[in-house]
Assembly symmetry: C2
Homo-oligomer: 155 residues x 2
DNA sequence: TTGACATCATTGCAACTGCAACGTTTTATC
DNA sequence: GATAAAACGTTGCAGTTGCAATGATGTCAA
């Protein structure tokens, strides 16, 4: 065998691989935001998602949140536990169906969201401004990806 | 105080929040791929990234990889450790600069990549087909996001 | 009513992650 | 050269994650 007797590999450009590009873009975008959440409010992204849903929907169960904020059931459960410990949400049993746990914002959580949501909105506006006309293109692509199997399975 | 005397919250639609949309789209896309990697080759996404870079670049250091595949230094280090343990890559010291560790594919790793890379390419083609004309739009958006601060800081 | 099955939420465990600190080696400054 | 500073890679630790299993409750059919 000669020394260069190696299996030849096809060229592959990771930078042109869409799943990779998406992952990197998402990570950057999320981390930018996560820094703000953490620095100003001391919350993580899963916490932010749950809080947003509660702000929007009032009192809901873990199950209700799961599907709506793209978190697994156990993530919601643990996130809710942390949020309760930091006093931002309240958990209580549901009398109709005692398997359910009702989650809702506490006044403290509500006050925080009253401050946070406008910032998030402003961030979105700023993002759209920064992307300019490519924003609509990005959205078209995301829409296509997200609608592909949005309801097909629980994952 | 009346019972409904609550701080009013602005409406906020998580589903329309671009960072969230990106995160969900990236997660779905990545997981689809991760399933294939894991099922057929038993590797994770960080492992896949390191392997791709080695397939492309031959022999490189941890530092070289770090920037190119969007992983932190310690992630590359631990990923390399695992890949070495599973016999897919080899690690050895660099004589010129003994701080460096040279990573390279083993024949076994090379053989795996020879099988994996065509599948990844096919996946990309399939993705482009599925997205149709929105693919170009998505790419335009991603390009904008990724070029914004790609070299500005190491993060 | 009872028993089998489904649903909801939680948790034990092992693996993984992020951060900061570390040891080693090289580079820069005097 | 000697000392300080920087670069490279690794690792200890505490916290987090994902999976599968669990317990508790509800639903349905006989």
């Amino acid at each position: 065998m000669r020394d260069d007797d190696q299996i030849p590999l096809p060229d592959f450009d990771l930078d042109g691989f869409t799943p990779y590009r998406l992952a990197v873009a998402a990570k950057r975008t999320s981390e930018e935001l996560a820094r703000m959440y953490r620095a100003r409010f001391g919350i993580t992204i899963p916490e932010w998602r749950v809080l947003v849903h509660l702000a929007h929907s009032g009192e809901v169960s873990v199950r209700d949140i799961e599907a709506r904020v793209a978190l697994e059931k156990y993530e919601v459960s643990r996130t809710a536990k942390r949020l309760e410990e930091s006093g931002l949400i309240a958990k209580r049993g549901n009398d109709r169906d005692r398997r359910l746990v009702s989650l809702s914002l506490t006044p403290k959580g509500r006050a925080m969201m009253a401050e946070l949501l406008p910032l998030a909105k402003a961030h979105q506006v700023e993002l759209e401004r920064r992307l300019g006309e490519t924003f609509a293109q990005l959205e078209a692509g995301l829409e296509r990806l997200l609608s592909e199997n949005g309801a097909s399975d629980g994952d």
